[in-house]
């Protein structure tokens, strides 16, 4: 690496690019709105009242700061580095997704929008969006692949309880990417009154930037908590990657700390040589859903179906900042199979009394492989970005149990 930047935290550039990635690849109808959103976000960022309202909601509504927890029995079982968890599964609604939704709904209100739409895969982002829409009294439509509606039934009911309309998407492959297509179709037809709350650090600029900024509360807290508790920074950060929002939220505040290594964990599904959702490991750069990034695709640029046991990781793309961080080598990326994630899920239940979501179970599986290779005074901080209540049916089925 010659030519590395002085800071890894200054992008995107004014065109929304992270190196060759990112950008604004949207239909012309959406361009004026995307430009307006960017201008409004710039104003909001400088407005202390916006920041104060965001902080207040995160503290009193979401329940932040989330704890930083040292996991003694897991550490002992793995027999290497100390394992710490950033407990974002304790947030209101059970995952990190709410951090971003609070920020975006405040932007929606600033822009005078009166209707909220979102896509969801696992249903966590849908639940978080429905939650903030209820909190601010705005009507809300959630697009969800018909396949996911089936496998995440409890979250579908939660969204409905919260007053959202859940529309099962039957176009394409009936999963998250198709839900995102359908949300974009809705948005294009309703630009005048509708705000699209995108659930991960992807989509057209400025979404990757603003989602990252809202989720960076995770990393800012973790950095401060770690310094206070141990007097030093962690050696390694680990996070699961669907679109990459919990990972970039944890990583970004540490990017300029040269001693802190970072590991993003993609879903290897049935295996990298079979069906999987590891866009960086098995994809190449392309354009989808408003941004240029690594995508699972064939030689003609047709998008491939992703597979992961975790509905929240089951997406054939990744946020553009991760594509850039991979290319410049600042962050390492690995992948973990369904089977490995399931076993890590059980490991955490058994050693720490915490039922993780299947998404962070991927991060835990990576920790379980690496911690034993590191010295006992090394520190790993992993993002426990969601709790597993939503996944118990999937896990029961995978383990052949009846509930």
């Amino acid at each position: 690496m010659n030519d590395l930047p002085n800071s890894f935290r200054t992008l995107p550039d004014e065109r929304g690019h992270f190196g060759q990635f990112g950008g604004r690849y949207v239909a012309e109808t959406l361009m004026p709105l995307v430009l307006e959103l960017e201008a409004e976000y710039r104003r909001a960022k400088l407005d202390p009242a916006f920041q104060a309202e965001f902080d207040d909601l995160l503290e009193h509504y979401v329940g932040r700061p989330s704890p930083l927890y040292f996991a003694p029995r897991l550490t002992e079982e793995l027999g290497g580095a100390q394992v710490w968890f950033k407990r974002d599964e304790l947030n209101h609604t059970g995952a990190h997704k709410i951090n971003n939704c609070v920020g975006q709904i405040l932007l929606a209100i600033r822009m005078g929008k009166t209707r909220i739409i979102a896509e969801t895969g696992a249903g966590q982002h849908g639940v978080a969006t429905a939650t903030v829409a209820a909190r601010f009294g705005l009507p809300c439509v959630i697009y969800m692949g018909a396949k996911d509606v089936e496998r995440q039934a409890p979250n579908v009911f939660r969204m409905k309880l919260l007053g959202a309309e859940v529309i099962p998407v039957t176009s394409g492959a009936n999963t998250l990417k198709d839900a995102m297509n359908e949300a974009l179709r809705d948005w294009v037809a309703n630009v005048h009154d509708t705000f699209y709350i995108i659930g991960t650090a992807a989509g057209p600029h400025p979404y990757p930037e603003l989602v990252r900024d809202f989720q960076s509360v995770i990393g800012r807290e973790a950095r401060e908590q770690m310094l206070k508790r141990t007097g030093r920074l962690p050696d390694l950060l680990v996070a699961a990657i669907g679109g990459g929002s919990n990972a970039i939220g944890l990583f970004h505040p540490f990017l300029d700390d040269p001693g802190v290594k970072m590991l993003g964990v993609e879903a290897a599904g049935h295996g990298l040589d079979k069906e999987h959702a590891a866009s960086l490991a098995g994809g190449r750069p392309g354009i989808l859903h408003g941004n240029k990034t690594y995508l699972l695709q064939d030689e003609d640029g047709q998008i491939a179906e992703a597979h992961s046991i975790s509905a929240g990781l089951d997406y054939p793309g990744i946020g553009p900042e991760h594509s850039w961080l991979k290319e410049i080598g600042r962050v390492d990326y690995t992948s973990v199979t369904d089977v490995e994630a399931l076993s890590a899920f059980q490991l955490l239940c058994r050693t720490e009394g915490i039922i993780p979501a299947l998404e962070p179970a991927h991060a835990i599986a990576a920790v379980a492989k690496i911690a034993p290779t590191m010295s006992k005074d090394a520190i790993i901080c992993a993002n426990l970005c969601g709790r597993g209540d939503k996944d118990i049916f999937t896990v029961a089925e995978a383990l052949g149990a009846q509930i």
């Binding site: 949207v26 239909a27 361009m31 004026p32 630009v191 354009i287």
Partner: protein, 260 residues
């Protein structure tokens, strides 16, 4: 004179859209010409056609399901060009299939196949470097879209480096939905005409000869897509006949506006 210039010099033009590889495409393209189309938009199927409504989404999936590859689309276009030297062909599709082998590759294939222009739905002027320079160097028009949300401040950005024609998307929305009010179309076309000399073609939500004829009175061209793709869905391998008849009705309505 380019094929576009010739097509628009005759008066308001009928522009017809079908998806490549959906049904017997070569026979369908011949039927469009026999029916009197002036310009052909050949859709490049994509797995994720996020600007399209149900009819064209289904056409995309049928085509991909039948195994259509990008190479097949260029074969279809090249064969068409050999049979019909005069009729302009525009490839319409999404950025990923167009750029996946690099913009120079795509531009070169267009040039070799006698393709006159490309419409890339999700490539706004801000991302022009991904395709525009290579197309222009190959003499292929990158046709831009203007929409009801394109205000006066944005128009120069859209018009810069565009050629062939300007595609006015009459409804803020996806393909195949309801038509916009004629009054708003007329107003928008007048606004665009004040800003550019290139032909203004109106599309999205135009289905019937009556609608097409009415728009032809105020614009340089009219695009019909979903209604034709629905005929392909209905008639499959036998679609050429119905496509020719429907195109003839559309063409009569559009062309009679020439003297109206």
């Amino acid at each position: 004179m380019s094929r576009f210039d010739a097509a628009f010099a005759r008066g308001p033009a009928l522009v017809t859209f079908v998806t490549a590889g959906d049904g017997p495409t070569s026979a369908i393209l011949d039927a469009l010409v026999e029916g009197g189309t002036d310009v052909i938009e050949l859709g490049m199927p994509f797995t994720d056609p996020m600007a399209d409504g149900p009819a064209i989404q289904a056409g995309n999936l049928r085509s991909l399901g039948a195994g259509t590859k990008t190479a097949d689309i260029f074969h279809i276009a090249a064969d068409f060009r050999a049979r019909h030297p005069e009729v302009p062909v525009v490839l319409m599709g999404y950025a990923n299939p167009m750029t996946t082998r690099g913009p120079a590759w795509f531009a070169n294939e267009c040039q070799k196949a006698g393709v006159d222009g490309a419409i890339c739905v999700d490539l706004p002027p801000e991302e022009d470097p991904d395709l525009g320079p290579q197309l222009r160097a190959a003499g292929v028009s990158l046709i831009r879209l203007a929409t009801p949300t394109s205000d006066a401040a944005r128009l120069p950005t859209i018009l810069k480096d565009t050629s062939g024609f300007l595609y006015y998307v009459a409804v803020a929305g996806i393909t195949g939905k309801q038509q916009a009010a004629l009054g708003s179309i007329e107003e928008a076309v007048a606004r665009l005409k004040a800003a550019t000399d290139i032909p203004i073609v109106v599309g999205f939500g135009v289905r019937t000869p009556e609608q097409a004829g009415a728009i032809a009175k105020v614009a340089d061209g009219v695009v019909v897509g979903s209604a034709l793709v629905e005929l392909v869905a209905e008639h499959g391998a036998n679609a050429a006949g119905p496509i020719r008849d429907y195109t003839r009705a559309l063409a009569d309505a559009v062309h009679s506006a020439r003297n109206g």
